[in-house]
């Protein structure tokens, strides 16, 4: 079942670094909601996901953390010290690292997750195939994972995590190699698993966030420079020009303002719903 995720004045500094990777981050994602963490390279997006997942403390136990992280009813001060898979699942940025490479077929690669969790039996193959269908990769079930294209590999890597049905799903740049249609499938899938998983994902673009996110956070150099909803993001678009690809959206808002006046962002979001 989906769990809420809360960060209270959370800061983190890697061992040996002089500036914090994250400074004073406060953020609340209600259970079953989807949160987009946007920002450029080195903004702290990955560090934020890793601090929730428990990986950060595991890998850099001597880093300095302060503040508090709350997941469901559990409170961690300052952060979880153990990896809590599959309750909290974290998908790495590089899908080639995520895939084990020891299994001969895509289907078997995903079974591997369930086997490790002691959840696999012959009936679970149906849920695997259904997940592959939702991701648009069911035709790849019998392919060797190491022979797939970039976008296909990324979706297989996602499937190995999604099949664990975590309470909190942390996805690090899940869209980098996906074409728009594959992104649309993922957005439908996100909406379909809301009851089950709270989702936090990172992205360097705003388009997907505008389609799926309930909560949007923009990070820059470890600081939170925006937190709000989709309308808020569009209303403040001028502030993000140098850190998010926003040129086309800015143009769009300007053009819509000419015909619709100050209600332009509402009109855009409404039009988005109908696409």
């Amino acid at each position: 079942m989906a769990h809420r995720v809360i960060l209270e004045s959370f800061s983190y500094q890697y061992p040996g670094q002089v500036t914090p990777a994250l400074a004073d981050i406060s953020l609340a994602v209600p259970k079953g909601q989807c949160c987009a963490l946007l920002g450029p390279t080195s903004a702290g997006k990955t560090t934020l996901l890793q601090s929730i997942s428990g990986i950060l403390h595991k890998h850099h136990a001597s880093g300095f953390a302060s503040g508090k992280i709350v997941i469901g009813d559990e409170s961690y001060a300052p952060l979880p010290e153990e990896i809590q898979f599959p309750k909290i699942a974290y998908a790495l940025q590089d899908p080639y690292v995520q895939i084990s490479g020891v299994r001969e077929t895509v289907l078997d690669e995903i079974r591997f997750t369930l086997e490790n969790l002691g959840r696999w039996d012959s009936s679970t193959d149906d849920s695997i195939l259904s997940l592959l269908r939702h991701l648009g990769i069911d035709h790849l079930a019998e392919r060797k994972p190491t022979t797939l294209s970039g976008g296909e590999t990324q979706r297989v890597a996602l499937a190995t995590i999604l099949i664990a049905e975590p309470d909190v799903l942390l996805l690090d740049e899940p869209l980098t190699a996906l074409d728009y249609v594959a992104q649309d499938r993922l957005s439908d899938l996100f909406k379909g698993i809301k009851e089950r998983s709270t989702i936090l994902f990172t992205d360097t673009h705003m388009e997907f966030a505008l389609a799926v996110a309930d909560v949007i956070v923009v990070l820059e150099k470890g600081r939170m420079v925006f937190s709000g909803d989709r309308k808020g993001l569009l209303d403040h678009i001028d502030s993000f020009e140098s850190i998010l690809p926003s040129h086309q959206w800015k143009e769009l808002i300007r053009t819509v303002k000419v015909s619709q006046g100050p209600e332009a962002t509402e009109a855009i979001l409404k039009a988005m719903e109908t696409i």
Partner: protein
């Protein structure tokens, strides 16, 4: 100089055709944007262009050189290709050495100048003495792009160059492309980042199930309406909204 693909088909040994009967041409100074669904054969096409793979039927020529009869090292003097995963091609221990590899290997007389220019265009001068693996992944990707530029080839072919890049590196790439197009270099770019590359593309080619279903100007593609949908693609959301709201 011109790249020409004539009726090219390709299949991996024992497999079905991945690419079927592809014909297109690109001149230096042009930008060909190649779009298609995941798994449509776009990356395979780039490997055919630099001779890593040879057509099963048909031919590709880079200037005077037919890729069937010339090895990759010779073709590399005219076309430089980067692939999706930067880990596939980085091996030197500093960024500068990595970028200098191609021009040195190609025995370019101005290797040093080409290296420094590529570092500058990719905004990597300040990290030139770093180990490539100490850089964030996005910047590492720019290292592979700089390596390709430094080869000083007429043509540059990039596979998903903006995947994983944030706006900071993306705008570096944006300016670099503008600069090199003005210099008369030619680009063949495989990308899902239509928002960025529609601006540069002199021509767009749509690859669907191994065949080209469209080649033409960006505007024609946007106005055609159905070509992208038929190839399992769509326009960026901001373009779709414009159309929905009947804006120019």
């Amino acid at each position: 100089m011109r790249i020409e693909s004539k009726n090219v088909s390709f299949s991996y040994p024992g497999g079905p055709d991945v690419l079927r009967d592809l014909s297109f041409a690109i001149e230096s100074g042009e930008f060909l944007l190649l779009v298609g669904q995941n798994g449509a054969g776009k990356s395979t096409l780039l490997k055919l262009l630099n001779g890593l793979l040879k057509p099963t039927h048909g031919s590709i020529s880079i200037g005077e050189l037919d890729t069937r009869h010339h090895a990759t090292p010779l073709l590399a003097g005219h076309i430089s290709v980067t692939f999706q995963n930067p880990a596939d091609q980085i091996f030197a221990s500093t960024v500068r050495e990595e970028v200098a590899f191609s021009p040195t290997n190609l025995r370019r007389a101005n290797a040093r100048e080409l290296t420094e220019k590529a570092l500058a265009l990719c905004n990597l001068q300040s990290v030139a003495s770093h180990h490539p693996y100490d850089l964030p992944q996005a910047q590492r990707k720019l290292v592979t792009v700089a390596g390709a530029l430094a080869a000083g080839t007429t043509f540059l072919a990039f596979d998903e160059p903006t995947a994983g890049l944030s706006q900071i590196e993306r705008s570096v790439l944006d300016q670099m492309v503008t600069h090199l197009l003005n210099e008369g270099r030619g680009f063949i770019v495989v990308s899902h980042d239509l928002e960025l590359f529609f601006r540069h593309a002199t021509r767009v080619a749509v690859l669907s199930r191994g065949g080209l279903t469209f080649t033409g100007k960006t505007r024609e593609l946007i106005e055609s309406g159905t070509v992208l949908e038929e190839a399992g693609l769509r326009l960026p959301t901001s373009f779709q909204i414009k159309r929905r709201l009947k804006l120019p």
